[in-house]
């Protein structure tokens, strides 16, 4: 097995970003993934949260603002190359419409979800699509009205003839439209909506880039705005595909279904990782390793017994709040961070894992994404920002 310049463990947003950044710098990159990562779950809008007044252990303290800005630019560029235009920057707050009709503000937003102009529209159409699961136009309109009480809302029904033998999700509909957008475009045209109107639809305009949206939007005068949705999320998959396209073009070696079970180390140096295959264990040698295995959701951190979280590959020390009172809040949706979500690995400024005394454990292992500890990324709305910025830094060190 040839030695990689860098091995990236994990194919979620952080892993893909790290691979793309490393590849862009002419490195020989290997990605080892197990499972699909969290992008199919995600809205694909990237939140940075606040970069000010951060506690000492906050990942942004180690990542730095420079990497945040560079990461944002890099992602915009990768997406644009796949005809998936994004807008925004680290400090921007661009509104998108959620599937339940709330507005959410994100830093980087795919153009198809940009709801900035909603305030200037006169009439807002909300599409209800026959047979499509998980999109409830009435609920969405009722809740969105609270932000725009003086606007006219109208629920419009479309039939894409999707009723089949099983439930139809946004992902199915997006697949259908990828193959043929025109029937939906025709239905939208029949609305005769004007430039003063917006049409809110579930995220079904294709599974790759903006191609389907371009076909439909050029025929319609009103702005079409896609919402978020319950998983699986076509916008998340579009972003995943944009990255994959770039990695393929850059000859990155990408291994799916490859579970890394441990590292090969020599003192403070990682020399490779061991992958478990059906028949045997296989060593992948590397000069540098990026750990992007995620947090509890993706299995980058596990916890079988109370107060004993583990990082299963390198057995790195895991920071966590001790004791039941600090582990979680009485409210699920709380006004303060959830302790368990702050669980993760602490690092130095080079994103090298450190122990409780601050001692660096490995000099060429960099921890990025959701397995970084020290903050509740969901509460802060910083999950995407930390993922891409730490990945950017980890890949450029």
């Amino acid at each position: 097995m040839k030695t990689s310049d860098v091995i990236i463990i994990g194919g979620g947003l952080a892993g893909l970003m790290a691979a793309a950044v490393a590849a862009s710098r002419k490195q020989k990159v290997t990605v080892l993934t197990y499972g699909s990562g969290s992008l199919p779950l995600a809205s694909s809008a990237i939140d940075f949260g606040s970069l000010e007044n951060l506690p000492t252990h906050h990942p942004y303290k180690k990542i730095g603002l420079k990497s945040c800005d560079a990461a944002a630019k890099f992602l915009l560029d990768i997406a644009a190359q796949a005809n998936l235009p994004y807008l925004g920057s680290v400090s921007k707050k661009i509104p998108i419409v959620t599937a339940v009709g709330t507005l959410k503000y994100s830093a980087l937003v795919p153009e198809s979800m940009n709801a900035s102009n909603l305030a200037n529209k006169k009439k807002i159409f909300v599409a209800e699509i026959k047979g499509l699961k998980d999109f409830y136009a009435k609920m969405l309109a009722d809740n969105l009205k609270k932000y725009f009480p003086d606007k006219t809302f109208e629920i419009v029904k479309f039939d894409l003839h999707m009723l089949g033998g099983r439930d139809i999700t946004c992902m199915d509909a997006a697949q259908l439209l990828t193959d043929n957008e025109q029937p939906f475009a025709n239905e939208l045209k029949a609305l005769n909506a004007t430039v003063d109107d917006a049409i809110i639809i579930p995220p079904i305009l294709g599974v790759a880039g903006n191609f389907s949206r371009d076909v439909v939007q050029t025929q319609i005068r009103a702005q079409i705005i896609e919402t978020t949705c319950l998983p699986p999320s076509p916008p998340g998959i579009r972003l995943q595909r944009a990255f994959m396209k770039y990695l393929q073009a850059s000859s990155v070696r990408f291994f799916e279904n490859s579970k890394v079970i441990r590292g090969v180390t020599d003192g403070r140096k990682v020399t490779g990782v061991v992958v478990e295959t059906v028949v045997r264990e296989k060593v992948f040698p590397a000069r540098k390793v990026i750990l992007a295995t995620g947090g509890f959701y993706s299995g980058g951190i596990t916890m079988r017994d109370f107060d004993q979280p583990r990082e299963p590959i390198f057995d790195l020390p895991v920071f966590f709040p001790t004791g039941e009172d600090f582990w979680s809040n009485a409210k699920l949706f709380s006004d303060k961070p959830q302790g368990f979500s702050t669980t993760g690995i602490l690092t130095n400024d080079n994103l090298n894992p450190i122990d409780a005394d601050g001692k660096v454990l490995f000099d060429n292992l960099h921890v990025v994404g959701a397995n970084l500890g020290g903050c509740d990324k969901i509460f802060e709305r910083s999950a995407g920002g930390i993922a891409i910025a730490s990945a950017y830094k980890g890949a450029t060190l």
Binding site: S38, L41, A42, S43, D47, S50, K93, P95, T98, A99, V100, T102, L103, K104, Y105, K130, G131, K133, D134, Y136, K138, M139, D142, N143, L163, D167, T228, C229, L230, P231, S233, G295, F296, Y297, G299, T302, M303, R304, D305, F306, E324, W327, S328, A330, K331, L332, F333, Q338, F340, S341, I378, F379, R381, A383
Partner: protein, 537 residues
């Protein structure tokens, strides 16, 4: 003023049993419940239909009642009972002398306890500890679904004219010259108060019986005794597995469909509303449980929950595990209030018998000689094979029978007709429990459906593997579509309330794969849906 003959206070198994019994005997009766039905010990329990083996040494009278009622329940509540059978296992650390007492106790109480070889025990229950289990017996325990039993009791009562008002709290009694005239109640949603005229009222409020008694100025000896239980996401056992030792904490496993419930602890609490659970309680149950099943901690815990047994404490009586599981009926004529009765104590397995005895006294007062028929007549008619076959075209086949037993004959017919004519109604609102949109909408129309949790208890949405991750959004939207507005809450609040309800049981067991589910819940509802809205900074 609204009038009835008997007001039954409390929508647990006992109250519902009384409502059914009275209605079947032709007595006009109305049940009021301050929350949703079976909100107390009638659902916050193991779901164990006792063979009586548990009481064979300590309380043979209770043991005898159990085995008789066990047989009756299998007959009248066929679709609520899973006849999985039970096993008693003695471990190496348990007293062998107790085993002898127990075998004799079972024989004396009429409970068939069949000794089996250890090989046979390990064949039937492969996960039993080879190291610790020393002897095993089979008994006729079974699993029983408290929710389903409750809705079927209601359906049965309604057929005979019985009425139910949920979210209706008793706030006082009206009497003239020591004779009861009516019960004052408050609608929990609107705050409206009114009186229901009646000749007789039965306080069947379980753990809350003392509070209800206080409203009438009478003292009731009831001690709420909190029991904590754990629900695992797998069927760890095939039988109800009991420890063969002096009854103690955490020594019973009950399989229900695809899950297993382990419990319980026993702790006197001042307030029956206290259904809190803690990591310490969970740890202590796991420590005991893993003596019988060594790999217990490798199974995913879905959630934990707690309920209060309403233990009857006669003046000067014992509390906790030593307290009797028997029940008592008090005629408050002795306290100077004619027409008020209290029934307290007992256990789920014998609710029917308790109701029968209570109703015998009421009927004697009313001069009604109709005999009790609750032991003979099945709770609900069985759904016909023809209807099941029709439904199979649209349901995942695993879900058909479950839906049929949940819905009962009439509603099931309506739902199947809807599925036939309206393909959109076939979508699954809850994939974990196979609940269709048609079913959820049908239950939304019910006169006891006010909040999403009410629909959860009837349909099982949100009770499975994902604990509401997907169906919280869907159910709230369906509520909005259907215009269920009794609580005047918006869809976002409904979603939050529903998920918060799930969170309560998840929080003390937040480890292992449950952490993963919770991160997913938060990602969906906080990040993708911005349910807890964050304004631009």
């Amino acid at each position: 003023m609204e009038k009835t003959t008997v007001v039954v206070i409390g929508g647990g198994a006992t109250g519902l049993g009384i409502l059914r019994d009275l209605s079947m005997r032709g007595v006009k009766a109305l049940l009021v419940e301050k929350n949703d039905l079976v909100n107390g010990a009638s659902s916050r329990y193991h779901g164990l239909l006792h063979s009586g083996g548990r009481y064979a040494v300590k309380d043979q009278e209770a043991a005898k009642e159990c085995i008789i009622e066990n047989q009756i329940m299998r007959k009248i509540g066929k679709s609520c009972v899973e006849p999985c059978g039970g096993m008693f296992t003695r471990l190496d650390i348990d007293d062998p002398a107790y085993e002898e007492l127990w075998v004799k106790g079972c024989a004396d109480s009429g409970i068939e306890a069949t000794p089996i070889t250890l090989d046979e025990a390990f064949r039937l229950e492969p996960r039993l500890s080879r190291k610790h289990v020393k002897s095993a017996y089979l008994v006729p325990d079974a699993a029983v679904d408290g929710f389903r039993m409750a809705w079927q009791l209601i359906d049965s009562s309604k057929r005979y004219g019985g009425q139910v008002k949920t979210y209706t709290e008793v706030i006082g009694f009206d009497s003239v010259n020591g004779e009861l005239r009516g019960v004052k109640v408050r609608n929990q949603f609107t705050g409206e108060t009114y009186e229901i005229g009646c000749d007789i009222a039965v306080n069947a409020a379980g753990g809350w019986a003392a509070f209800v008694g206080k409203l009438a100025g009478v003292e009731i000896g009831v001690q709420p005794d909190k029991g904590t239980l754990i629900a695992f996401n797998q069927r760890i056992v095939n039988h109800v597995v009991n420890r063969l030792h002096k009854s103690s904490d955490g020594d019973i496993f009950v399989p229900h469909g695809s899950i297993t419930i382990l419990g319980t602890s026993s702790m006197s609490v001042p307030d029956p509303e206290d259904t809190s659970t803690s990591r310490a309680e969970v740890e202590s149950l796991l420590k005991i449980g893993e003596q019988t099943f060594e790999d217990l901690r490798d199974f995913r815990i879905l959630r934990t929950f707690a309920g209060s047994r309403p233990l009857y404490i006669p003046p000067g009586g014992a509390v906790g595990r030593s307290a009797s599981r028997g029940f008592a009926i008090v005629d408050h004529a002795q306290d100077g209030l004619k027409g008020l009765f209290t029934i307290v104590g007992g256990k789920f397995t014998t609710y029917r018998l308790m109701a029968e005895k209570m109703c015998n006294q009421i009927c004697a007062k009313l001069g009604n000689n109709t005999p009790c028929r609750t032991a003979e007549e099945p709770l609900v008619e069985e759904v016909s094979q023809a209807d099941i076959d029709r439904a199979k075209k649209f349901f995942p086949s695993y879900g058909v029978k479950l839906a049929a037993t949940r819905l009962g004959v009439d509603r099931f017919k309506k739902v199947v007709a809807r599925l036939e004519s309206d393909p959109e109604s076939r979508e699954l609102v809850c994939e974990c429990e196979n609940v269709t949109r048609a079913e959820v909408e049908e239950i939304c129309k019910d006169d006891t459906s006010f909040i999403v949790n009410d629909v959860r208890r009837r349909t099982r949405i949100g009770m499975g593997t994902c604990q509401g991750n997907f169906c919280a959004l869907r159910a709230a939207a369906i509520f909005a579509d259907m215009g269920v507005e009794s609580t005047a809450k918006d869809s976002l609040t409904r979603m939050e309330e529903f998920l918060q309800g799930r969170w309560k049981g998840i929080r003390p067991v937040l480890l292992g794969r449950t952490l993963r589910e919770t991160e997913m819940t938060r990602s969906i509802y906080e990040l993708s849906m911005n349910l807890t809205e964050v304004s631009p900074q």
